[in-house]
């Protein structure tokens, strides 16, 4: 693996507090598995450690992240201009493992969409997508996702959840059913994305496999929802990181492994089996 020089080619405000940043790399990054991340050296002397970001998208020699300005580092990044030089280490971590014979159900909360976009792009079969955010202002985050819509808009239309498994179903074609909810009900279903999923889960198909990414409290309610039917589920967790390489043991998540409960999110994760986490 290399620590790659990069140049910012685009650093756009998508909607309030959310930015998309495209970086051109000095060399190809190597094969990326959805769910993997990069450690980005933000070009500001005020920011000491690197910051982890999911690989939202990647090209031959580009990598794109979608990020939310929450603190010192991400705020500094918002003011990085085009042509600014950065260092990019990646792809890092264990990404999603897609199992045959299941219907992939992608569940994204807020900025969690950044971690699922590439999975959606690469899933070559029918699948569902649930997206929850705070208000309709954040719905544009879906805009980058290619929902081959068949007459439906990807965002905002107040719609009930149809029978996904029967309505579409060409083999090797993703099913195009983004379902949106907002916490304030300003668009889509009113509630959080786990409530939305609950209201639609029965319609999802025979063997759902949930892939989720979002704020950490979401995982506990997801667990409660999926427990009864023992729906398999992988989640992409976020944890403060120092190295991103497994060197510091700073980024651990607690698992149910009693012998060694704390697993490093950067190497054993960031994608974990929900049923192995201790939440």
């Amino acid at each position: 693996m290399y620590d790659m020089e990069g140049v910012i080619r685009e650093n756009l405000l998508v909607c309030q507090d959310f930015y998309r940043c495209k970086i051109e790399l000095a060399r190809p990054m190597g094969k990326v598995i959805p769910g993997q991340f990069i450690m980005l050296k933000i070009p500001s002397a005020e920011v000491f450690l690197r910051r982890p970001f999911s690989i939202y998208d990647c090209g031959k020699q580009t990598v794109t992240i979608l990020y939310k300005a929450v603190g010192k580092g991400t705020r500094a990044l918002t003011s990085a201009g085009r042509k600014e030089r950065v260092m990019v280490l990646g792809p890092l971590g264990h990404g999603f493992r897609v199992h045959q014979g299941y219907t992939p159900v992608l569940v994204a909360g807020g900025i969690g969409i950044a971690g699922l976009h590439l999975l959606w792009k690469q899933v070559k079969r029918k699948a569902c997508f649930f997206y929850g955010c705070s208000t309709e202002q954040e719905v544009p985050l879906l805009g980058g996702i290619d929902f081959n819509t068949r007459g439906r808009t990807a965002t905002g239309t107040r719609q009930t959840c149809g029978d996904l498994s029967s309505e579409h179903g060409q083999p090797d074609t993703p099913v195009i059913e983004p379902r949106v909810c907002t916490l304030d009900g300003s668009t889509g279903f009113c509630g959080n994305v786990v409530q939305l999923l609950k209201s639609s889960l029965s319609l999802v198909g025979e063997k759902p496999y949930v892939y989720a990414c979002g704020p950490q409290p979401m995982f506990a309610s997801l667990k409660a929802l999926l427990a009864e039917k023992e729906v398999p589920c992988q989640v992409l967790v976020e944890e403060r990181m120092a190295c991103g390489l497994g060197l510091c043991f700073g980024c651990v998540k607690k698992t149910l492994d009693e012998a060694e409960p704390y697993k490093r999110a950067c190497v054993e994760g960031p994608v974990f089996d929900l049923w192995q986490l201790s939440l």
């Binding site: 450690l49 690197r50 120092a242 390489l245 060197l247 043991f249 060694e260």
Partner: protein, 300 residues
Amino acid sequence: MATLFVDLFGKTLRNPVMNASGTLGYGREIDPLWSVDTLGAYVTKGLSLKPHHGNPPPRVWEEGRGMLNSIGLQNVGLKRFFAEHFPLFRKRNTPIVVNFFGFTDEEYIECAASIEPDPLIVALEINLSCPNVTKGGICMGKEARGVFSIIKRVKETTPIPVIAKLTPEVADIVEIAQAAVSAGADGITLINTMPGAAIDLGTGRMAFRGGLSGPALKPIALKAVADVSRAVPVPVIGAGGIMDHEDAIRFLMAGARAIQVGTATFIDPFAIPKILAGLAAFMDEHGLSRLSALAGATHD
């Protein structure tokens, strides 16, 4: 061409640059980026007799030009280290320094006793920054008498050279180092992290507590190295905020025989190979043939 060889406890190391304990995983994590035989010696993650779970997250916190960590000494234990991780160093023919800790004097002794001498083991590095559970959790390395007795008993237990790694949270680090040396320590590593705290204004949450590492620690570490290396006859190994070869040279000038690089690797995983390259270039540029010439530079 300058040579970077350095003598330590009768062994000759390729170069004076080690990782700092706990900052290069078990070695295998960095090996795909650069071979561990790049190092003068690999210092193990802090190991204990039994595996140790460590602290719940969050465990790391950025703080100015430094960081706080409260890993809590998570490790797989000495046995699994030697079974699972040591073979890499054998394969790479890389000398190692075994950093270990305990929560009682007895645990230190048992650890030391359990480590078989091996041509690749340069030394045992005793982490004295641990809470002593038999003394109400007071840090092991704070009392000269306590340090003396642990080191003395460890030295009686093992034929392997012993390095005392000291905490800077003491009134007089020279006194502690002298106690360690008079108990038989073959070397001193300076310094471990400095306890600190931070408060996240955003969440208003209580202080995050952890050990401070990185550049913020450097002036404290340099002073410890300068003071202790003049006061004790054994080699001093310097650590604390070394970010580049210039910092490495500062520590060597201050009197360190070898140096350890920790936090720098988190920011640039290639920091160690870069420091080595920079060190060699500096020596050549200044016409110095041996590292010992650097130490001389500051004694004018």
